[in-house]
Symmetry: D2
Subunit: 385 residues, 4 copies
Amino acid sequence: MNINGLSASYNTVRKYSESICEPLETEDYVPQPVPFVSPPKWHLAHSTWFFETFILKNFIPDYQVFDKDFSFLFNSYYNNVGERTLRTDRGNVTRPTTANVYAYRQHVDRCMNELMENLTDTNAISMIQLGLHHEQQHQELLVTDIKYILGHNPLFPVYKTGHNLVNAENSETGFLNIKEGVYSIGFEGNGFCFDNELGRHKVYLQEFEISKSLVTNAEYIRFMEDGGYQNFNLWLDEGWSWVNQHAVEAPMYWYKISGEWHYYTLAGLQKVNPDAILSHISFYEAAAFAQWKEMRLPTEAEWEIASDQLQWGQRWEWTNSSYLPYPGFTKAKGAVGEYNGKFMINQMVLRGASVATSPEHSRKTYRNFFHAHERWQYTGIRLAR
Amino acid sequence: MNINGLSASYNTVRKYSESICEPLETEDYVPQPVPFVSPPKWHLAHSTWFFETFILKNFIPDYQVFDKDFSFLFNSYYNNVGERTLRTDRGNVTRPTTANVYAYRQHVDRCMNELMENLTDTNAISMIQLGLHHEQQHQELLVTDIKYILGHNPLFPVYKTGHNLVNAENSETGFLNIKEGVYSIGFEGNGFCFDNELGRHKVYLQEFEISKSLVTNAEYIRFMEDGGYQNFNLWLDEGWSWVNQHAVEAPMYWYKISGEWHYYTLAGLQKVNPDAILSHISFYEAAAFAQWKEMRLPTEAEWEIASDQLQWGQRWEWTNSSYLPYPGFTKAKGAVGEYNGKFMINQMVLRGASVATSPEHSRKTYRNFFHAHERWQYTGIRLAR
Amino acid sequence: MNINGLSASYNTVRKYSESICEPLETEDYVPQPVPFVSPPKWHLAHSTWFFETFILKNFIPDYQVFDKDFSFLFNSYYNNVGERTLRTDRGNVTRPTTANVYAYRQHVDRCMNELMENLTDTNAISMIQLGLHHEQQHQELLVTDIKYILGHNPLFPVYKTGHNLVNAENSETGFLNIKEGVYSIGFEGNGFCFDNELGRHKVYLQEFEISKSLVTNAEYIRFMEDGGYQNFNLWLDEGWSWVNQHAVEAPMYWYKISGEWHYYTLAGLQKVNPDAILSHISFYEAAAFAQWKEMRLPTEAEWEIASDQLQWGQRWEWTNSSYLPYPGFTKAKGAVGEYNGKFMINQMVLRGASVATSPEHSRKTYRNFFHAHERWQYTGIRLAR
Amino acid sequence: MNINGLSASYNTVRKYSESICEPLETEDYVPQPVPFVSPPKWHLAHSTWFFETFILKNFIPDYQVFDKDFSFLFNSYYNNVGERTLRTDRGNVTRPTTANVYAYRQHVDRCMNELMENLTDTNAISMIQLGLHHEQQHQELLVTDIKYILGHNPLFPVYKTGHNLVNAENSETGFLNIKEGVYSIGFEGNGFCFDNELGRHKVYLQEFEISKSLVTNAEYIRFMEDGGYQNFNLWLDEGWSWVNQHAVEAPMYWYKISGEWHYYTLAGLQKVNPDAILSHISFYEAAAFAQWKEMRLPTEAEWEIASDQLQWGQRWEWTNSSYLPYPGFTKAKGAVGEYNGKFMINQMVLRGASVATSPEHSRKTYRNFFHAHERWQYTGIRLAR
């Protein structure tokens, strides 16, 4: 990417974050209802902090920080950068105000644009690219965290009229067959990728079939009506504990009202569309559903090999692969090395992309990962056998 | 009180709540950092809900509620009034916005003023009086909750310059002696009181002495420097567990910076004034301090009998009395009966009033009560022997 | 008490502890199913440790301890005596074995008997008396803890055939009237009492009536059948949370089997005897029942003044008094001062004695105390109005 | 295996369980200090329950159970078999006594031996084989659970003099090189294996080197002395939280006494032998150590391919593979299907065997699995690169 392209990308991406927040009231920027959901204000500030910390401070001599306290307030999990606010306290920090945070963004954007005017340092350029992909990741979290905040308000407020992200349907049916053999997975090429995709390497796959469509709401309702949430034989042991401890009876955001299933969407509470693609289920639910269908979830290698022939981009698709390093994976030194490697334990890989994923932020080698119980992302199920 | 007086009181009290919030940013109205601290937005709405629920709905025929969901959102603890938001979720409810809540106040105030124009129903008048005292209680909570929210922000924001509520000093010294004998305590007269003060009754007191001054910061620092927080012999067993579990080393809001004690005040972080009256200590700390001085805390009966000869109004003073019913106490039927009686277990009585108490909201028979570990109120220590 | 009497008492009391454990299997001596229930092995060792620590070590020159580790293992809560096993870990300590503990008892008893042969030191004598009353308190806990351990085994093992402690009925009916006036309460005389009973002092009582009988199972079943556990208006706020959090529906040890109420007794699982006196209820339940009857629980002063004219000894009777110091109460210096004073917070006083109380271990001035939710003791209800 | 061989195996295995418990006192059979450690009494009963439930009840017409309550008490996690004691309550069940449990074993052994006299049903034979391997798994747990119970007693009791299982040293050094290519892993052949080993299948391995020795105490002490437990860069994020939350500073059972490292062994507390193979570390610690050495843990496929050329049997070796199904894995119907499959989430695979593994109970295809934080097994580290 040349420097003009980078500068244009920078401004497009940065503006997109703000456009996501446009329908919000000031109050919506503040709360952190559960530890894994961050306040929108925090996302806007943290993605800005990333540019200030890793680029402006390093590549502009005598750079003056916007506010010396922000490093403490808006560091997420980089131990190498120093102390930070407890993750669970993000929702209690009312100052800086939202207006201050927007001013912080403006300040950093101005400095970044100045810096990019004559930038040739390839380290700086590559950190900026990382910063943009980082901000795009937070854009998806902005969408899902806003949905969580509004969707857990008893009033079910509308984010934006007509903005129902869970309404799309499958355009294909049937199964795709892939033959046994040695295949290669992992990133190759010149574009951007995260370190966890690197190390293109050979894997051996057994013959398998993978569905060309994602599971729909109607199919999942059949699972529910067949007693899926009551039949322990379908569940992983840990999943069965989860179902019972949290009294789970349906996907997240689903409510049975007068005998009919409704769900909260960003356009408000609506009747479930049976033909639409299922969303907001945990890995446990995905695995139980697959067991009920007497099929299974694909591995991430299977998924990647098949991906050229699949439609995707509607849901993050749970795979049956744990998030582990590829052969030859090594962490970068310092804070950037904390980006991915330290999370490679007890999480499951999701492949694809979702309706909340930012434009230009998906690759068939992309390795997303969440804990098995998490379901506030736009997650879905693709079956294999 | 005649109806004109009531109407004037109503508007004065209602306006005072809003004046407390005037220095706030919109974001400050939202969070609930711990379950016992409510969002300012919630206080403004809940005190309004009280008038709507107990007066407008009952005394205006065909009254139209401002919003049918508010009853669910802003009920605090009245089981008789129906379902309500979980207490711990108040900070996650971003809508209605602060502006909506102010509109709700305006709506209710307009209806209340109309109603009061020709009001003669003594039940209504007495419920309005209760509603005003209720709102005054929430005004004190507004102050202490705002202090908690701002004081737990790592930036220590200033609420209002010059507004240091903990700076006042004692104006008297020495001890007052009260002789053994039969005395009467409890409310009598025509003005307003809460049901828990009723039942003026005789008590038998042994001779005692009670301090004319409250404990100062300097005295408490001597306790700390003498190892007060490390000496288990001074503490109640439960207090000792509390000290160790929470690593308590000083009053709430105190921080040792470069070897000197500072505290957060509503005017920002400041050096501790040694001559000022101590504030923000738990009953456990009050009891340990008294033990260290080889004295004790007064009972609430002792306090009330001595109160005519004491200066007070600076701090809520911990007594060594549990919050229990006076002889002959009975709960009113229905929701109003939930006001006080159901809390008469495992709380300690505090007497007096504090610098955060609203004007006209104190009586020598007033029985305030908190749990022994709570210290976000303006609490202090008066010794007896 | 002369020294011969003391020596005889010593051996009687010590033997009685062992007789309580006689029906146990070795395994029954070990577990601590919940933190407040101690292993029988621990009770036997701890009461012995008391004599070794406070008497043998102090009054026998060059006394050799039985085992140097026992001081750590069998200290209960005396911070002045040094470090101790975490209270919650008592059930995991399989060694010393039960046989070792009996050997420890024999060793200490032999030394104690030698010491008592020529004992004239009044401090020693008075500590021995305290040790015997201490052991009697643990005898009652032995009974209630054994009941807890066996009663929570799904097999409901029999402790001793015919040993049903909850079967007795009232012998009197009606109410006793006490006139308003000044009365005196607290211990006076020459016998033994705990420090918390001292300071005989005057109190002023309003006129009241107190029931001559305790509440029966039949009366409590009527409360249950009238929806007592579902009606929040009857409950203290904290009690209502307790009922809901623990899904409480009946007294402890009660089970509904094929539509009929049964309870676990030390003689095994039996049908509830409707005419027997109710047992194993919390303060919350006692208070809710009293509210349902439109009466109240007596205060401890009322109870003590009426006690000469009451039959008692069946149940520890919940009063509506918090456990607080009497006027002039002071703690002894050192470990003995930790016996009572440090628990004077957030507990309620119970008066009387129960069927599990050791012989000679009751007084009308005796102040027992437990937390409001505790119900594994033989607790009951006497009403006042 | 012919039926005589089976019968001999049966009696050998069953007797071996009892021989492990021979040094115990009756009290040692009872406690469950943490949920993952079961009482020895429970292991003896549960492994017996397995034979009674899956063999005697199914293959002996009119079989009379030893005690109808035992099915409830001694089921571990088979939902298909019905209700069971809460896992966390196993340590509170004092009855049946240890003697009863031994009688239960005798009863079942007698019936089993009668049954095996003329047994030809291959389903029964194969279930018996599963039962024996199941009992061998519990034999290893018996050893590690006994170590946990005794090792957490402040007295550090000796299980058996001279019985130090952690004293062995490596017999080889250096690294083994394995070339890139397609390999096959998984069980093949006629002997017994668990269902999770089945489905021999091809995998593609990159070239790697694997250590011929296991990490020693001396090497691990160097890691500790180099600040390994303080350097967040070495740890997985979840591992770093675990270290901080539990204040982990050394392997399990290690204590620094007067400046020297000691560990609890089954022969009592001893000085750490620096040349012995490290044991009792979590996956987190294994991964951090590997990071510190700038190497990594092997995957389970790498381990299996190299295993023919490795000495092993000292420690369960943490691999960097999650416990997931092999291609084509399917669960058996009913209770037996619960044996392995439902645990295939959030656990890591360990390969090899340990000094506590029962004779004849190891295979190079054996897939052991534990959670990343668990370390009461005899776990160790083998490095790869």
